[in-house]
């Protein structure tokens, strides 16, 4: 670890075993699939075989008549929705579109789009019933590729859609149907003047495929709509409150009548924020009066949840001979999928964020296509735009005959500089990370062997703050119950308990964290945006401060001394010496044992809405070998260096970084959505949608650079998302170094690399 200024901690910086560890390794942890309830029905979903079609007629009568079938629902069973805006935490949703995505309205807009759902006494009967639902489609031409969808001649998904232009200086949108939902622009300085100053100008175009998060646990939901109108939903989600709010909006039921119980979650990475099955299970439960359980087959998970955008990005960079970047102009077009709302905004904001620039112009386009509605995926939007910038920068360095890290260091973002939006940057570890890359033995080592190359790339992500609530109770045995609204994906029970333990001078094992339902804790935004250890840590700190204050008060009362003479220190309370000269001291455990007899146990709660999360910054180095005969890339060595603020639990921080890198390697090399000419998604299985397997990746070395976040009592920065940003450009730059072939598309599959290596046909 590289540390700048760090206080001495007792708990923070250690790596204890997580509180939920034993249940998880022994199979006792309860996931959505484990739910069993009296009278449980099983739901199944009929999905569109077409990428784009009008639904002329649906007849569910034969399905409803099948013995064992208890209910069938279609879109018309939902209340009508007007256009609106729901804040999902990491992303937003318009309920008018959300309901049509959950069950298709007048049109199906992608292959796999849900059309109807059945509840039956067992899953096999439900599946039999799906085959009895008659749907008459009028098939329409489909458009998959983002640039084709932008053409005036493209098939139009939503005839009422008009381009929302939020780009100063751009012409107003024509009043005609279009697939371009949004044109946004950020601008700083004067790019024309900047390019005029440049000695070298490089402009390149890049495309990226659609990628899926690849969480192992499929989406699932069980719902029970009680006769008294109270609805309970058990689900696998990153945000129980986000599910509650979406279900409430779609069903037009007050949030106070919906309780969401978050089960353990087998991965989400942004994909488990939007609802798919939850409102459908609730509707089926209302119709039957019985609880209804649903889960997605793997093919549905891949075909019909929310992968990333496929993108087209053009980047133009001008630089002087000394490496100073004089201007960057980027054009970013992101496919949103069936409904507006891609992550292009974050793509625009992050594209040039690692660098301090005087002249930047970035245009971003949000474009609907006949593909599943995109959702958040780990640093949503950032990997594609930063890939384009980092790959182009490599070519600038080459043209300037400059060391790739020297070029980046020359332009590194520093505290006080402003980003492309003109906002000032807080303390950020960009320079520290870049220096750590440049001096790392991996970067300075010689490359040995044929067809081996090295690449570097930087990554930026702004992280999230948002709202978190928690409560804590001091028990008489000296343990502390910590009630959390944040579902635990990446070890946050541990990281939050550790921060409370640190503040109270206890051990993590003294803290008993539990993740609870939406009726049991205050509003808490999603586990996403790398925010949970930051925001939950602030709340844990606040709870600790409150507990300490109350213990000091109590000790003063017990000792009959003035409060200002009592201090909380070293995991207990100390007061002035007694009249007989003995020290007044009660350990946490001792005073906890006296609480009941001295005014009662202590229970506190707190909410944080701070947005001082601090940005995340990463630099990766990778060595690859390319087999010239097959086009296959092997990752030989990988080093991920990251400003982690303060590593609360270094082993989990390292795990987050390694996980992000592995997902990034998948994007770089083999993951992609494969569509046929009619827009059918063909590789909806983990056999053919190729996430990396264990022996595709080497041991990923991590270097934790600790530049504490001044906006957090323990210096925490979010760490989970930024490591997915650099792998695509780093590996692309390494392939170019290995075989002299520059690729402009990810994934860089063996077939694509072979196409470059084989003689032109």
């Amino acid at each position: 670890m590289v540390s700048t200024e760090k206080p001495q901690y007792r708990v923070i910086g250690t790596s204890p075993v997580r509180p939920d560890g034993v249940d998880k390794v022994t199979g006792r942890a309860e996931y959505g699939a484990d739910i069993k309830l009296e009278g449980l029905l099983y739901g199944a979903v009929l999905r569109s075989p077409h990428a784009h079609a009008v639904i002329k007629r649906i007849d569910t009568s034969k399905a409803a008549a099948l013995p064992g079938v208890k209910a069938v629902v279609i879109n018309a069973d939902f209340p009508a929705q007007a256009s609106g805006d729901l804040d999902l935490g990491e992303g937003r949703a318009n309920p008018m579109w959300l309901v049509d995505n959950v069950l298709a309205g007048s049109k199906v807009l992608y292959h796999g789009h849900a059309v109807a759902a059945v509840a039956a006494t067992d899953l096999h009967v439900a599946e039999d019933a799906l085959a009895l639902i008659e749907v008459e489609y009028e098939v329409l031409p489909a458009v998959i590729e983002v640039r084709e969808a932008m053409l005036e001649t493209a098939p139009v998904l939503h005839p009422e859609l008009r381009t929302n232009v939020r780009a100063r200086g751009a012409p107003a949108a024509a009043d005609r149907p279009t697939n371009v939902a949004l044109h946004m622009r950020v601008e700083k300085g004067d790019v024309a003047a900047g390019f005029a100053e440049a000695d070298v100008v490089i402009e390149r175009e890049f495309t990226t495929s659609q990628f899926h998060q690849g969480y192992i646990e499929p989406q699932n939901a069980t719902a029970f709509w009680n006769r008294d109108g109270e609805v309970t939903v058990w689900t696998s989600t990153q945000g129980a409150f986000s599910v509650r709010d979406q279900v409430a909006a779609l069903l037009k039921v007050g949030v106070g009548h919906i309780k969401v119980v978050p089960m353990e979650i087998g991965g989400g990475f942004g994909g488990k924020i939007n609802v798919y099955l939850e409102p459908v299970a609730a509707l089926l439960s209302r119709k039957t009066g019985r609880p209804v359980k649903m889960w997605m087959p793997r093919a549905d998970v891949i075909r019909a949840t929310g992968p990333t955008s496929s993108t087209f990005n053009r980047v133009k960079i001008g630089a002087k001979k000394d490496g100073t970047i004089t201007a960057i102009h980027a054009y970013l077009a992101y496919a949103a999928g069936a409904y507006p709302g891609s992550s292009v905004g974050a793509g625009v904001s992050c594209a040039t964020a690692p660098y301090s620039l005087d002249n930047v112009l970035i245009d971003g386009f949000d474009v609907v296509t006949n593909t599943p509605k995109t959702a958040a995926y780990r640093a949503p939007g950032a990997p594609a735009s930063e890939y384009a910038v980092e790959a182009t920068l490599d070519e600038v360095a080459e043209a300037l005959e400059m060391d790739k890290m020297d070029l980046r260091l020359k332009n590194a973002a520093k505290e006080g500089a402003t980003n492309a939006m003109g906002q000032p940057l807080a303390k950020i570890g960009a320079v520290e990370v870049m220096q750590a890359v440049k001096s790392h033995p991996h970067y300075t080592s010689e490359i040995q062997g044929e067809d081996i190359g090295r690449g570097v790339a930087m990554g930026f992500w702004f992280n999230g703050g948002m709202e978190t609530s928690s409560s804590a109770t001091v028990y008489q045995d000296g343990t502390v119950g910590l009630v959390l609204g944040s579902t635990d994906i990446g070890g946050t029970r541990a990281s939050l308990a550790m921060q409370l333990a640190e503040n109270l001078g206890l051990t993590m094992e003294d803290i008993k964290p539990q993740v609870v339902d939406t009726d049991t804790v205050g509003y808490t935004a999603v586990t996403g945006g790398s925010r949970t250890t930051f925001a939950g840590g602030w709340v844990a700190y606040d709870l600790g401060e409150d507990i300490k204050k109350r213990l000091v008060d109590r000790a003063a009362r017990i000792w009959s001394v003035p409060v200002d003479q009592v201090r909380y220190e070293d995991g207990g309370v100390s007061g002035p010496a007694a009249e007989d000269g003995s020290a007044r001291r009660l350990s946490f455990q001792e005073i906890a044992g006296k609480l009941q007899g001295s005014g009662g146990l202590i229970a506190v709660s707190a909410t944080s809405r701070r947005n001082t999360q601090g940005a995340a910054f990463a630099g990766h180095i990778v060595d690859v070998h390319v087999d010239r005969e097959t086009g296959k890339v092997s990752i030989l060595r990988y080093t991920a260096i990251q400003d982690v603020g303060t590593a609360i639990h270094p082993a989990y921080v390292e795990g987050q970084i390694q996980g992000g890198v592995v997902q990034g390697i998948g994007m770089a090399l083999n993951e992609e959505y494969y569509y046929d000419d009619e827009g059918h998604m063909l590789n909806a299985s983990l056999l053919d949608y190729r996430i990396p397997v264990a022996n595709d990746v080497p041991m990923i070395e991590t270097v934790l650079v600790e530049v504490p976040n001044p906006g957090h009592p323990y210096g925490v920065r979010g760490v989970g998302e930024v490591p997915i940003v650099p792998p695509q450009p780093a590996i692309r730059n390494a392939v170019a170094d290995a075989i002299g072939v520059k690729l402009y598309h990810t994934p860089m599959t063996p077939a694509r690399i072979l196409d470059e290596l084989l003689p032109r046909e």
Binding site: H124, E127, D128, E629, T630, G631, K632, L669, N670, Y674, L682, N683, L687, D688, R690, P692, V693, N695, D696, T749, P750, A751, L754, D755, L758, E761
Partner: protein
Amino acid sequence: MQAVRYARASSVDEAITMLREGGETARVLAGGTDVIVQARERRRHIDLFVDIKHIPELMSLTLDAGGGLTVGAATPLYRVYGDAEVTRRFSALAESTHVIGGTAIQGRASLGGNLANASPAADSIPAMIALGAVARVAGPAGPREVSVADFCTGPGRNVLQPGEFITSIHFPARPAGSGSAWERFIPRNEMDIAVVNAAVSLTLAGDVVTEARFSLGAVAPIPLSVPTAAEALVGRPLTDATIAAADEAAKAAATPISDMRGTIRQRKHLSAVLTERVIRRAVERARA
């Protein structure tokens, strides 16, 4: 998945009877790693599974005195590659069975199942073709033998008549100076379907190739025999030029399609690359 009946046969004759009574929607069940998935996904309608794993001869693995190998149709793959003699003498077979699925699959999946499933990309079939294997078949009309090279008739289709099933795969003895090898190309390092796979068995007398049999998978509707590649080598001394000629013959024999697993250009190119690689490895083994 619809409800299915399950019956356990304890002899070949009993299985024949059960299959006859079950009619068109009866299927034999060996490891089930293909048919159960197909039934679960409603790609195949099956009313009756006749489990053949309790017929001793179908679970056997026998090296006879003459050096031939007979593998029961339902014998799990781990026993094939786990046998040191099989690995030494029938290297291509061991190599191909070692990479079909993971450990759990290999405890169930069988050569008979891999062959009957008749996937164009099946990993073990090119190895069986190169090794000159023969499938022994039982059925209502009595037993018969079919060369593995002639067994598949199209993707998922084979020569089996209603009520027939494979009982064993027989591999002829290996002449002195023989070596074999199998290799596939996959984008990942494991758990993938071959973009192309290739196998060869050859026999050397000094530097001259006296016998050779080639096979390619995933480049045609069925796993291919490639006699033209053999013709480029047999009767000639082994040189870079004759090996290159065999590679070119393999490439010319491949008639692949472009799909989500690979492109025509990539598959034709890989047909030559893999053919070269298996020749060189088989030669090493022949000389060892």
